[in-house]
């Protein structure tokens, strides 16, 4: 199943939650923010929201900037 993560089509198993996806990438959940289909996904929902075909996911974190 393809979902769009950070602008790229990405293969994800059906039933994967946002949390599972993030942890699967080796990312500490506390360091990122997730936008799910153009809306903020609050952290407490990550464990329950299951990714579906063509979902749009933005996973972002802070970097240096001016």
């Amino acid at each position: 199943m393809k979902v769009n993560v950070n602008g790229e089509a990405t293969d994800v198993q059906e039933g994967t939650t946002i949390l599972a996806f993030i942890e699967g990438k080796g990312i500490r959940p506390g360091t990122v923010v997730v936008e799910y289909n153009l809306e903020i996904a609050p952290r407490e929902t990550w464990g329950s929201v299951k990714l579906a075909v063509e979902d749009q996911l933005q996973i972002v974190s802070f970097v240096g900037g001016g």
Binding site: N6, I40, V60, G64, G65, G66
Partner: protein
Amino acid sequence: MKNQLNDKLIIGGCEIKSRLLLGTGKFSSDKLIPEVVKASGAHVVTVALRRVDFDARRENIVSFIPKECILMPNTSGARNAQEAVRIARMAKASGCGNWIKIEVIADNRYLLPDNLETIKATEILAAEGFIVLPYMSPDLSVAKKLLEAGAAAIMPLGSPIGSNRGIKTKELIKILIEEIAAPIIVDAGIGRPSEAAEAMEMGAAAVLVNTAVATAADPVAMGRAFGLAVEAGRIAFLAGPGAVREQAEASSPLTGFLHEK
């Protein structure tokens, strides 16, 4: 020096302890940041938001910023109001607070802001409870609209981002300082402490500096230099500088000396 005692900068209800705001981009190593922040005395520190790179992870910038700082994420990367709003919401969702520097840029060469989209984004985000500090191309009429839209301060550019060219828009910024009833923070282009001091002497409420510190050979020392210069400029503004004259006026008494009989 009485004027100084009550000289407070309040933005979004917070007392800001330094009139030097610091950006965190372009440092050769993020590990410099804690020491630079400390040396500069900055209280408000900007960060950006970017998509996580799953392959080349780097440490979270936030961990390098002293806890007592106010974090001000910017919306860099946004090309219109809607993108700025999305980025601002993501920033807030991180739990780092509700400050946001709006930066909407369509021009890739000079990185000049889109004032109209900036007004739109300011309106939406201020209504959502953000403390909004819009980066803008200096323009009195736009500044007024930003204020009506709910901006907490106005941040006109001195010259293009990262150019270190100094404040080339003084004429317009002076007018903003005079006419706008909100803090004017000179953002972008300041390349030398003397320029930061001059902005403060003109009456700017604060300056935001990044490139000039980050690209100095010694960023910690340069951070300190900017901190001192901003303080010097502010004190001078309050101290009431003397008049500028066309001609000379002797510092030493001119009357009665050797050649006078």
